[in-house]
Symmetry: C2
């Protein structure tokens, strides 16, 4: 009996393989993949000594992984080393790839990432999706997916799965967008609209952004709060290296934490939510900017040029973020807060007031705040890497090229 090949939200769910003989084989395949991935190129003997199995056992596992295209042999190691030369193993740059896709409010993006973590193909289409029905948007996204898959195919890669980041709340079925206010989508089953030939995972962009930070970020803490923004403000709560999803899958709604309880009304039904002070529209309005293409870029250029309205708007947004984050830090006690998404590019002007609030409102040392290197690439990379992680965590789930 084997576990289902692809479960909803395989990445970050901390799935454990079953406690059987077959499960042990699958766990050992995964250990070989991760060991070669983290430390390779490595000989079979080196893999065996690192994971504590016999060389014969490792050879059987390696042969299977080569057969399914997950590992490659680089040929004999160069002479001069002690002992019989082994053939160095490396994670395959061909074979299965993770296809990540992102539905942004103002763009669509798709990429293919190989098992080594390298982006091998990419396609982007700019233009607003605000208020457009899901059907035509997903049709365009599907065209981009097929374009990227074709490009990846020319490199010897084939999709192991498709993961889609959306700016909204996604149900725990990992298919249904329950609410995406900035797209005006409600209870939209993307499973019906997206290509069906590959295993599908749909998740909130902030969740994929947080996972990208966990897997690809510089600091790599295991307990952190990842705060990101496109039009709305979302957060991903990472606890001991796992994403906290919440009962309905809606955890991380930092944008609707009340900052000033009698503040302006929010479409969520609340008043004075963080988004009313630090959401993109609120900040642009405060800076005297009209909505339009690449507004955040314009805001950041104005702030860099010393424009006082832009500086003040970002200072006030940082204050509101600091108040909301004080609450979140008190509840979660994370190791660090990471600013990602559009917030990363605005960090120079947000951080002083944000950190000021956190420090002023904390008895002990304040929780450190860092800025993601991934910026607005996070959700797309997180989506593609979630598929790659699924393969590394359970190589037996990939039967070979379809």
């Amino acid at each position: 009996m084997t576990a289902p090949l692809h479960e909803a939200h395989p990445a970050g769910s901390g799935r454990r393989l079953p406690d059987t003989q077959q499960g042990m084989r699958r766990r050992n395949l995964s250990r070989v993949m991760h060991t070669v991935g983290d430390e390779g190129p490595l000989s079979r003997a080196a893999v065996a000594s690192r994971i504590g199995l016999t060389r014969a056992a490792v050879s059987t596992l390696v042969d299977e992984l080569i057969r399914t295209g997950l590992l490659e042999e680089l040929g004999p190691e160069r002479p001069g080393r002690v002992g019989r030369p082994g053939s160095a193993l490396t994670v395959s740059g061909h074979g299965p790839a993770g296809i990540g896709a992102e539905v942004g409010v103002d763009h669509l993006a798709v990429c293919a990432v190989d098992l080594r973590g390298t982006v091998r193909a990419r396609a982007v289409r700019h233009g607003t999706n605000r208020g457009r029905p899901a059907g035509p948007v997903i049709q365009e996204l599907t065209a981009l997916v097929h374009q990227v898959v074709a490009e990846a195919d020319r490199e010897g890669l084939w999709p192991a799965g498709l993961a889609v980041a959306v700016p909204g709340l996604v149900a725990r079925d990992a298919r249904t967008v329950v609410r995406a206010p900035n797209l005006d989508w409600h209870d939209t089953d993307l499973g019906e609209l997206l290509p069906t030939e590959w295993p599908l995972t749909v998740d909130n962009e902030a969740n994929f952004g947080g996972l990208a930070e966990l897997w690809l970020g510089d600091a790599a803490p295991r307990d952190f709060l990842h705060v990101s923004a496109e039009i709305g403000i979302g957060a991903a709560v990472l606890v001991d290296g796992r994403l906290l999803r919440g009962t309905r899958g809606f955890a991380g709604e930092l944008g609707h934490v009340p900052v000033r309880p009698e503040g302006p009304e929010c479409p969520c039904g609340g008043r004075g939510c963080l988004e009313q002070y630090a959401g993109e529209e609120a900040v642009l309005r405060a800076a005297g900017l009209e909505p339009g293409e690449d507004r955040v870029g314009l805001l950041s250029r104005r702030a860099a040029d010393g424009d006082p309205d832009a500086r003040r708007a970002l200072h006030d947004a940082g204050t509101a973020l600091g108040i909301a984050l004080t609450g979140a830090v008190n509840l979660l006690d994370p190791e660090t807060v990471v600013l990602g998404g559009a917030l990363a590019g605005l960090a120079p002007w947000l951080l002083p007031s944000l950190e000021g609030e956190l420090t002023r409102r904390t008895a002990g040392p304040a929780c450190p705040v860092s800025v993601s290197r991934l910026g607005s690439e996070g959700p797309l990379l997180g989506a593609a890497h979630s598929v790659v992680r699924g393969v590394l965590d359970d190589p037996a789930s990939v039967a070979g090229r379809p």
Copy 2:
């Protein structure tokens, strides 16, 4: 090689026993204990069929559990059943017991709970501990512990461990009280002050209260926020049946979530923290009550009698709780919020405004709020049960009566 007998925070830490032959035996001992505990009295055959092991294997495990005093035989089952009569097994009402202790701001309490979950001995001492040094307080607590242990001993019970609930932040070493503002304790190592003959766990009262709700509460959700109050306001965040502790062990500080960012100063360094509106002192002050013995009881009697000041004070506290909980619910998406500790007794007058805020500020259906049946007993029971759970989860950790 065996795992350490008692790790810091054994309960709620989701500890997994090691993946070895010896680990498998220990896991099976635990499965037998839990099966008999949940469904007993049961015959060996019934246990075997429920956990999917042979009767011979189960008999070996059962014999060991009887020898160490964790299971008891009730004698042959009554005749008239099909097959050879088996002897029904039950969890022992003698043998190991969990000793729970609580350092309250205005009281000390100790109890002994047997493996069946029954409180078998108890001692309480009323009187303020505010501002008293830890030494004399813990000396008094130790006297109560020895009194309860002596009483338990007369019932054939012996301590498997001691767990102490304190109204403050506890480091992840499960010994050191980093900060207990209402006692004025700082960086106090209780491991040096408490009896050393039993394994010791010190934890925040809100954490033990949340675990008590998980183990003993009526609804038994696995994802919930347990909010409790003595003098301060604390919360326990339960995620998938596990306590979220935070990097330093400080998670759940709901009392210092900013409710009105420019509100009154709080000793924590912040302004307008929840405790400034819904903490015991703030509510008593708002109700026109002087501090003193059993003030919460007095407040609740006045509210029950329709005293407008008491009613208004509790209404306003409920509003503040609702604002802070809106933020927490947005971040964590729990299945439910449970009011415990002193808040449970005040719920009739807190809930209308609290639930009003939660509903008003939420787009979808608001997170349901329930009231703990355990009330202010939660932390003490949670402490004692954490020891009992440790025994049920790893019966091999108990070598038999010392």
